[in-house]
Structure formats: structure tokens, C-alpha cells
């Protein structure tokens, strides 16, 4: 499919009713080289990297609903890599570097906008913690700088730096390479590019079981659209990982919680960057359409209802109103919940499983969107080589039994 000024002009006069589909919707074949379970951003990215970088084009992506219908469409689109621990820094910065060239690589505008991610410090303890993060990041070659309150307000006009509010701002860290991207465009871009290389994207195709060889290795999947055989299968299904892996007889160190977000009515540009506060729990940025995109917290118990408690959003809006008093009369349009799979150390699981041929990418918890290209690339590399990519190796499933947890204090929505 070709986008050009001429085609745009022609479609404009034809009422935009003649655009062809951007990716194929084929009937699934009976056999594939690799099957990816889960058609979110992570799964589609894995398929695209398998086809484009590792030369494995006989790939199917199986999606229970429609692609991008889960957490890919429910996040707050924030991209950053200023994590604390070395393993996480390598992982998230790998992803951030892929974001920087993604629109060119896919030939699809994912609207990655590195407008700067500012993390606020409220009080002495926060100042100590965030400066520790800042120095850890600089040692790892990740850009991060300290802003005093006046500089923070200069970077994000409207920020309330008064010393009389309940949790006064004493400073902030700023990662200028961080920002936001258009979540749907990321899904569509990976789908279109993967489909063009021969990847079959199969929607409305829930996986109902796994086929095993006599030696225990993976042989394929049972789906709502018939049996599909494959020697290598990658599972990338976020909040429902426990259910899918249970079909293969594996228990996972995961708990699934609803994580909420909400958007306001569209406004003129008011928030020029991404502002996060882990302490008083607020995430805010403004989409190109003008809505304020606000991230709230998770419920405290396992749930698969995609809504979440109203007290969680009220708590976040209290914080937003204190940080940006000018927004107090803004109306909220919608709120929703996405089901996020959390590990106990708030770090993902990416790599092999006890079942030969079965690979897993899960446990991204509240911060999976920023990892979309990175997680896809590492899952593809791990499947192609049959062993964990060096960046993914510390995030193995067996780290829990070995006691090598990666206790990440800079993960999103985590009060450590």
C-alpha cells in the first residue's frame, strides 16, 4: 500500500472510502516455523524482528481479539529508560534506542516524540533517591539531569512549585530522550511491516491448548481456528500469561491487577513534556489531539475486570490538581483499566521456559509500553537463537528459584 500526496488527494475527493487494508487477514496455515501468541505491540514487534532481522518469515501471530485490543491500547504511552539497576538500564535503553529509529525502520509514523520525561521529587528522601537514580543512569550512559524547582517550572510551565502545598516540589530529574509515542500507530506500524514480509496476523484466534512431542518439547497450539503446528512458540500475552501458561502446565510468578488511566477533554497545548510523580502518584502528558493523558495506580488485589476502583483515580486527580492548579476545572472524558501482570521484583520475565521450544515474554507490569520494540527484538533474538539474548539473560524465569531477583525501584506505579 502506498501513501503519497497524490493518493491522499484522490482519497480526500473520494470521501476516504477507498483506502485498502494495511495488513493481510489470511486464514491460518496448518504449520508455521514460529508462532507468536498475542497480537499486542510486543508480539507484533517480535514477529517483525523475526522476519526483518533474523530471516524467519514463516511466522504467525495469533490474537484472541483484534490486534492492539489489550494493554497496547490502554497505556499512557510514556517512553523512558532512566531505571535504577544495570540490568534494567541495559534493557530499557535498548528499547529507547530502537524507538528513536522506529518510524524510519517501519516506514510508518509512530509519532515518537522525545519531549522529555520529568520525575518530581517531593522532600529530602525523594531528592536522595532520585539523585541516586540520576548518577546510576549517567554511569550507564543514559542521559539524566537535575532540575531545581525554578528550572522544572521553566521546563514545564504551570507546575506549582509553591512551598506551601501538601508535598512541595524540591526538584526533578529530566530525561530529555524520553517522551511519548502514538500507541495505536505502533501496533499498526509493526503489523503492516510484518505482514509485508510474509507474517500471517490471525485475529479472533484464541489459543486453547498446547501440543507436545513425546520428548516433552512443544509441537504446536490448539486454537479456536484449528490446530497449528510449530516447533517454536513465543507467548506474549501480558495480563493473561498465567492462564495461557497454565494450558502448558506451567505456574508463573505473576499476579494480574487492573491499572487505570484516564483522559480529559481536548485542550490547547498546556503540558509540554511528560511529568511523573511516584511519591504522590501522578503521571500526566498531553496527546497531540489535546487530551490530557493521566496514569493512575493499580488495585491491591488480583482482578481481571478492566475497570478498577474509583478511589484510585480520585487519588491521582487530587495529585494532578495540586501539581497543576490551572487544570482543576478540566473535565475527564473516559477512564479505563488494563490488566497488568506483575512480578514480585517488578522486572519482566523474558526468555526460555522449562518446555523446549516454548518462550515467554511477560511480567512487564505497569511499564510495558516503553519496552515494545525492545521486548519484541529480544524475544525474536531469543527464539531465533534458541538461547536468551545477553540483555534478556538476567530476566530469566529461573531467577526466582536462584534468588537472583532484579528489585527495580524505578519501575512505574511502584511505591517501594
Amino acid at each position: 500500500m502506498r501513501f503519497s500526496f497524490l493518493s491522499l488527494l484522490r482519497q480526500a475527493f473520494a470521501g476516504h472510502r477507498g483506502w485498502p487494508e494495511q495488513w493481510r487477514s489470511p486464514e491460518p496455515k496448518r504449520v508455521y516455523d514460529v508462532v507468536i501468541v498475542g497480537g499486542g505491540g510486543h508480539g507484533l514487534a517480535a514477529a517483525w524482528y523475526l522476519a526483518s532481522e533474523f530471516g524467519i518469515r514463516d511466522v504467525a501471530v495469533l490474537e484472541r481479539g483484534w490486534i492492539g485490543s489489550g494493554n497496547s491500547g490502554r497505556n499512557t504511552t510514556i517512553v523512558r529508560s532512566n531505571y535504577l539497576l544495570e540490568e534494567s538500564e541495559a534493557l530499557y535503553d535498548h528499547s529507547l534506542k530502537l524507538w528513536e529509529g522506529l518510524s524510519q525502520a517501519l516506514n510508518y509514523n509512530v509519532m515518537f516524540s522525545p519531549r522529555g520525561v520529568m520525575m518530581l521529587a517531593h522532600g529530602h528522601h525523594d531528592r536522595v533517591v532520585l539523585t541516586r537514580h540520576l548518577h546510576a543512569n549517567r554511569l550507564a550512559g543514559i542521559d539524566s539531569e537535575w532540575l531545581e524547582p525554578e528550572a522544572a517550572r521553566a521546563f514545564c510551565p504551570g507546575l506549582n512549585i509553591s512551598s506551601t502545598i501538601r508535598y512541595p516540589i524540591v526538584g526533578a530529574t529530566l530525561q530529555r530522550r524520553g517522551g511519548v509515542a502514538r500507541h495505536d500507530a505502533v501496533v499498526w506500524g509493526f503489523a503492516r511491516a510484518a505482514s509485508a514480509l510474509g507474517v500471517d496476523i490471525v485475529e479472533n484466534c484464541p489459543v486453547t491448548g498446547f501440543l507436545r512431542n513425546p520428548d516433552g518439547s512443544i509441537a504446536g497450539v490448539e486454537t479456536g481456528r484449528g490446530t497449528i503446528r510449530a516447533k517454536r512458540i513465543g507467548v506474549s500475552v501480558a495480563g493473561h500469561t498465567s492462564q495461557v501458561m497454565d494450558l502448558a502446565g506451567l505456574r508463573m510468578p505473576l499476579e494480574s491487577y487492573p491499572l487505570q488511566a484516564l483522559v480529559s477533554e481536548p485542550l490547547k497545548p498546556v503540558i509540554s513534556c511528560v511529568v511523573l510523580s511516584n511519591t504522590i502518584h501522578a503521571y500526566i502528558s498531553q496527546s497531540d489531539k489535546g487530551d490530557l493523558v493521566i496514569g493512575a495506580g493499580t488495585d491491591q488485589y488480583v482482578s481481571y475486570g478492566q475497570n478498577g476502583g474509583p478511589q484510585i483515580t480520585a487519588h491521582t486527580l487530587d495529585a494532578i490538581c495540586e501539581l497543576f492548579p490551572a487544570l482543576r476545572r478540566v473535565r475527564m472524558m473516559r477512564n479505563w483499566g488494563g490488566i497488568v501482570d506483575n512480578t514480585v521484583d517488578r522486572s519482566p520475565i523474558l526468555g526460555t521456559t522449562p518446555i523446549p521450544g516454548l518462550y515467554v515474554n511477560c511480567g512487564w507490569g505497569t511499564g510495558g509500553f516503553k519496552a515494545t520494540p525492545g521486548a519484541g527484538h529480544l524475544l525474536a533474538a531469543t527464539i531465533a537463537r534458541g538461547e536468551p539474548h545477553p540483555i534478556a539473560a538476567p530476566f530469566s524465569l529461573d531467577r526466582f528459584a536462584r534468588g537472583r531477583l532484579i528489585d527495580e525501584a524505578a519501575a512505574a506505579a511502584v511505591a517501594h
Binding site: 493473561h240 498465567s242 505456574r251 491491591q300 488485589y301 482482578s303 501482570d341
Partner: protein, 99 residues
């Protein structure tokens, strides 16, 4: 917001409680092998459906109890004081199906 049924105080709003995770996890012996320790510490059933959980009524009577909740509809199927035998989620699910 959930209305959590405390066995002593009756139904109260969720913000009075702390969720204390999956119920019925046996603590392994100190000399158990690492896989058994990891299983008890980190691996959870993460059930989609009826799940037995521990709750604590911190802003009320302060006591722990066990409640069974449907993790899709968030409806409670019952709650019991700790240590009191209660129907398993599977038995409760069968009972709900009969009704």
C-alpha cells in the same frame, strides 16, 4: 470500590482493608529446596475466576480473614475467620452453577 464482607464487622468499604494476597499457601520447611521456596514465595495461581484470598480489616477490627472472590466480576462468594474450614473455590463454583 468493593464492599468487603468482614466476618466480624459485616460489609465495609474496601478502603478499610488491606489485601494480603492468595490464601492457603503453606510455608515450606527451612531446609526445603530452592524450587519449593520459590514456589511458596513468588509463584501464585493468579486465578481468573473464584480465588481464596486473605484480607485484613486494618481500619476496623484489625483482624485477618479469608474471603473468596470472583476475580472477573469482583463479587465475593463468602468470607470466613482464619483457620475455620471453608468450601474450596471449586466447590463454591459448583454451588453457583447449580443456582
Amino acid at each position: 470500590m468493593l464492599l468487603v464482607p468482614c466476618p466480624w464487622c459485616g460489609p465495609r468499604p474496601e478502603i478499610e482493608f488491606v489485601a494480603a494476597g492468595e490464601a492457603g499457601i503453606a510455608r515450606p520447611a527451612p531446609d526445603a529446596d530452592p524450587a519449593a521456596l520459590a514456589e511458596a514465595l513468588y509463584f501464585r495461581s493468579n486465578t481468573k475466576g473464584l480465588l481464596a484470598e486473605r484480607w485484613r480489616h486494618v481500619h476496623g477490627c484489625g483482624r485477618f480473614f479469608v474471603a473468596v472472590r470472583d476475580t472477573v466480576s469482583d463479587r465475593f462468594a463468602g468470607s470466613w475467620p482464619p483457620g475455620v474450614p471453608h468450601p474450596s473455590p471449586a466447590e463454591l463454583a459448583a454451588g453457583e452453577a447449580e443456582r
